[in-house]
Structures are given as structure tokens and as C-alpha cells.
């Protein structure tokens, strides 16, 4: 069985390489769109400011926007009571939160994204949350944590491949040690002795992050149905993950000796999706309340979630 699976995989690399290079070409182009668009936005807001301070909706040329902004700054000071404090408070932070720093990301799909955020929100409150709440009531916490660990252990190939692709060889080695430890004395990964006993931390890396490390920009933000916030780069990163490194496919390869892959219907897409659904419910049951709280933090939920996702990904890629 092991051999079968490996020969299967051997047929794919050609197609995989083709697929990846197609992606890369695409990204090479899309990346350039991001910055100029953002600076356009900046000059637009400056125009708006000018328009508002003139107390009239007159349009100004974008060439004048820099000068317009200077004028506006003076106007603001005239009306301000604590004159000294005003400039200091902002000027010191010009590099970090200055008006030059982009305040809004390039977001051509915002209409669709808003709709899909609402859809996912309903999905959470109407389906996922009730199911996960019931599941939590039935399953003790240690079992749920165990199941989560079990799935995480199966994602080892994703982490290994991407650590290597990002030249993080030490982390790749640690991941391998973790996998070896947890799959054996960790009882198929249900328990995490690698971390508890040996202090080996997981190094989660995915294809989206790898593309990021290679220098590809995120592209436009895309909210995926069911899966939630993503962007073009990360969405494309999901494809090789699903086809080649899906946990269900991997189970057969990794735990072939258990005879698990002989279970009928396991190769079906429905089964794989079903198993992913179980994983999702299980993970949600450990995080109930977090989404709700995050939602309350937002004044406008969609851009909040979008920025949260994009900033978090940026940090993950930097690390």
C-alpha cells in the first residue's frame, strides 16, 4: 500500500511544477498593482480633506494635493485649542501611522468579500456554533485537544515541505523529530510529548507563507466560502495543500500499516470533506467565544477582519 501511494505521487511532480510556475507568473504581474493603487487612494483622501476644509464639494487636481494638505494642516491648527500638543502628537508618529502610510489595502473584491463575510457569519452562528457547542458538551476537553493534535500531526508533510522550501532546515528537522515522537509514543499524534517532554515547538508553515517568503505579494483579499478570510496568494497555496498534502491522503501513506486505507469510500471527496468538517467542528469547540469577541471589537466588521488577517499573515511570513 505504501508503495502504491508513492508511485501515485511520482506521477504528479511534472504537473505540480507546471502549476507552480503558472502561479508564479501570475503573481509576478499581480504584485505590481498593489502599491500604486494604495498611493492613489492617499491622494484621493487628501483631495477629500481639501474639499471638506474648503466647506464645499469642489474637486481639486491630484497634483495640488500636497499643497492642499499643507493648507489644511494650518486650518486645523487655527481651530485647535492646544496648539503645541497637536502637532507633536502626530508628527512623532509620522513614520508609523503618518498619512503617507497606507490606511487602506487594495481591495477590488470588497463587494463580494463583504457579502461572503456575512454568509460565513451566518454559517458560524446558525450551523458551526450550535454543532460545536453540542459537540463540546458531549466530548471531554482532553479528547478534543487530542483530536486536534492528531490532525495537526497529519499536517506534518505540509509543514515539512514548506519549512524546506523556505530554507528553514533546522525547523524542518525539529518538525521531523516532532512527527517521529508524536506518531509513536504520542499515540498517533493524539498526545504531544515532543512539546511537553522535549520542548520541541511546532513550526507551522503553509504554501501561502512560502510564496510570501519567495517575495510574492498577497494580491487582492478574498473571503472564501466556509474557510473565511484569505487572499489570492494564500488561496492558490491551498491547492497543492489539498491535492498533495491533504491529511486524509496522508493518513494512508503515514499510517498505512494500520490498514485504515482499506476502509471503503475513504478516497471519495465527500469523505475527505466530511473529515475536514469534523476537524473544523472539533477545533471550533476549543475556540468558542473568540469569534464573537472579535466581532465586537470591530466597528466595521469586514475591513477589520481583512486587516486582521493580512497583518497577521505578514507577521507569519516575516518570521
Amino acid at each position: 500500500m505504501l508503495v502504491d501511494n508513492q508511485t501515485n505521487k511520482m506521477q504528479h511532480p511534472g504537473r505540480f511544477v507546471l502549476f507552480v510556475s503558472a502561479i508564479l507568473l501570475f503573481f509576478g504581474c499581480s504584485q505590481h498593482n498593489v502599491r500604486p493603487q494604495s498611493s492613489d487612494f492617499n491622494s484621493n483622501t487628501q483631495m477629500e480633506v481639501q474639499a471638506k476644509s474648503d466647506a464645499g464639494p469642489s474637486q481639486t487636481d491630484s497634483e495640488n494635493s500636497a499643497i492642499a494638505f499643507q493648507d489644511d494642516e494650518d486650518d486645523g491648527l487655527d481651530n485647535d485649542q492646544d496648539l503645541d500638543a497637536f502637532d507633536d502628537d502626530f508628527d512623532e508618529f509620522e513614520d508609523e501611522f503618518g498619512d503617507e502610510v497606507t490606511t487602506e489595502v487594495f481591495d477590488p473584491l470588497s463587494g463580494y468579500n463583504r457579502f461572503m463575510t456575512g454568509f460565513n457569519d451566518k454559517l458560524y452562528f446558525w450551523v458551526l456554533k450550535p454543532v460545536a457547542t453540542g459537540y463540546r458538551w458531549v466530548m471531554p476537553e482532553f479528547a478534543r485537544t487530542g483530536i486536534k493534535n492528531f490532525f495537526n500531526n497529519l499536517y506534518f508533510p505540509v509543514r515539512l515541505v514548506n519549512n524546506i522550501l523556505q530554507f528553514k532546515f533546522k525547523n524542518a528537522g525539529e518538525e521531523t523529530l516532532r512527527f517521529a515522537t508524536n506518531s509513536t509514543i504520542g499515540l498517533l499524534g493524539f498526545w504531544d510529548p515532543a512539546k511537553v517532554w522535549f520542548g520541541l515547538e511546532a513550526h507551522p508553515e503553509d504554501f501561502g507563507q512560502t510564496f510570501g517568503v519567495w517575495g510574492f505579494g498577497p494580491g487582492p483579499h478574498i473571503v472564501l466560502p466556509v474557510l473565511g478570510p484569505s487572499n489570492l496568494r494564500d488561496t492558490i497555496g491551498l491547492a497543492p495543500q489539498w491535492i498533495y498534502l491533504n491529511p486524509v491522503n496522508n493518513f494512508s501513506t503515514v499510517y498505512g500499516w494500520t490498514g485504515f486505507e482499506k476502509v471503503e469510500g475513504l478516497e471519495k471527496t465527500e469523505t475527505k470533506l466530511g473529515i475536514l468538517a469534523i476537524e473544523r467542528v472539533n477545533n471550533t469547540s476549543l475556540r468558542l467565544g473568540e469569534y464573537e469577541s472579535l466581532k465586537k471589537d470591530a466597528i466595521d466588521f469586514y475591513p477589520f477582519l481583512r486587516d486582521f488577517y493580512e497583518q497577521n499573515r505578514l507577521k507569519e511570513i516575516e518570521e
Partner: protein, 201 residues
């Protein structure tokens, strides 16, 4: 001449030393305040209202809420607000941050907070800490700045790479693109509804 040269060298070396001292002091202060918060959470004898008041009293002096509010609004939008609007905005914004903080504490009840290190980044001090949750680590960076003749205060908090000020900035900018300051204030008055209001304002 030698003495002069020597004193010049000493003088040149002084600022980093002073900053090193201040960095350590800021870290120690942050550590103490966070510990106080944890003590209050674990103190089961307190009813929730008193507990929350004590937590806010312990942690709030570390933050410069009005600076956070200003930065979130941005210079241009700030200059368009009148003094009354500014004051209301600062108040609403501070309460939001505090209520959000309290609710997060409720969510992560038995977690541990570790203050890792404080480093000087230009003229700011970044104190990094992490929260050890059930299955993962949540990294937080408190960013301090120093106003003239005042203590070091937090002007932004970064949680898992996400800057609080930055997320508010783009939300406010987005809303103010199509709506007025008054609309935004109205929205701030309504939204939120955290389960643990401070009720101090």
C-alpha cells in the same frame, strides 16, 4: 586634553545607558501591572464589577488612551473634528478598548502571561509578552513612547502582528470616506455592547 577627550567619550556613551535603564524600568513596570491584573483575575473573592474596576485601575495608567485615539483617527480626520467631538471620541474610544480588554481576559481565564523582553526601537520601547493559551501562544507587543515631562506610555498594542491602532485607522478611514464624523461617533456610541462594561464613563 586627555580628560576632555575622556569626558566627551563618556558623554557620548551616556544616552544609551540612560535608555537602557529606562527600558528596564518600563519592562519592570509593565510586568508589575500585568501581574497585578492576573492577581485580580485569580482573586475569586471579588465580585465581577469590583474586579473589573481593580483591573482597569491597575493597567490603565500604562496606556495613553487619548494618544491611541488620535493616532487611530489620523491627523487629517482629527483636524476636521471640533473640540467637543474630539473629547467624546477619546472617551468612547478609551471605553471600547477597556471593555474589549476585559472581555478578552474573561475569554482566556486560566492562561499565563509571560513578559519576555523590552527593547529600544529608535525612541520607542517595545515590551514583548506572550499569553500561553491552551494550545498555542499569543504574542503581544506593548509599544511605549515618551511625551515631554511624562512617563513612558503605551500608544499601540500589537497582537500576533496585528496593530490595534492600525486596524482602527483603516476602519475609521473607510467609514469617513462616505460618512461624516457625527455618523462615526453615532456608530461608536452604539456598537460594542461588550458583556463586561466598565461603566466608569
Amino acid at each position: 586634553m586627555k580628560i576632555l577627550l575622556f569626558s566627551v567619550i563618556i558623554a557620548l556613551m551616556m544616552p544609551p545607558l540612560i535608555f537602557a535603564d529606562e527600558t528596564a524600568a518600563v519592562k519592570k513596570d509593565a510586568q508589575q501591572r500585568i501581574n497585578a491584573v492576573i492577581d485580580h483575575i485569580r482573586d475569586k473573592s471579588l465580585d465581577k464589577k469590583t474586579r473589573n474596576e481593580k483591573i482597569i485601575a491597575a493597567i490603565a495608567p500604562m496606556f495613553d488612551f487619548s494618544q491611541m485615539a488620535k493616532l487611530s483617527m489620523g491627523k487629517k480626520n482629527w483636524s476636521l473634528m471640533n473640540p467637543a467631538q474630539r473629547q467624546e471620541f477619546i472617551d468612547l474610544f478609551s471605553v471600547r478598548l477597556q471593555e474589549s480588554y476585559l472581555e478578552k481576559l474573561d475569554l482566556y481565564t486560566d492562561e499565563e502571561v509571560v513578559v519576555d523582553q523590552a527593547e529600544l526601537v529608535k525612541n520607542r520601547i517595545h515590551v514583548s509578552s506572550h499569553l500561553v493559551a491552551k494550545d498555542d501562544k499569543i504574542e503581544m507587543i506593548y509599544k511605549f513612547f515618551k511625551k515631554k515631562n511624562q512617563d513612558w506610555k503605551v500608544y499601540d498594542v500589537e497582537i500576533m502582528g496585528v496593530s490595534i491602532v492600525q486596524t482602527y485607522r483603516s476602519q475609521f478611514a473607510g467609514i469617513l470616506k462616505n460618512q461624516s464624523i457625527e455618523d462615526l461617533l453615532q456608530r461608536l456610541r452604539q456598537t460594542g455592547g461588550f458583556t463586561v462594561p466598565t461603566g466608569n464613563y
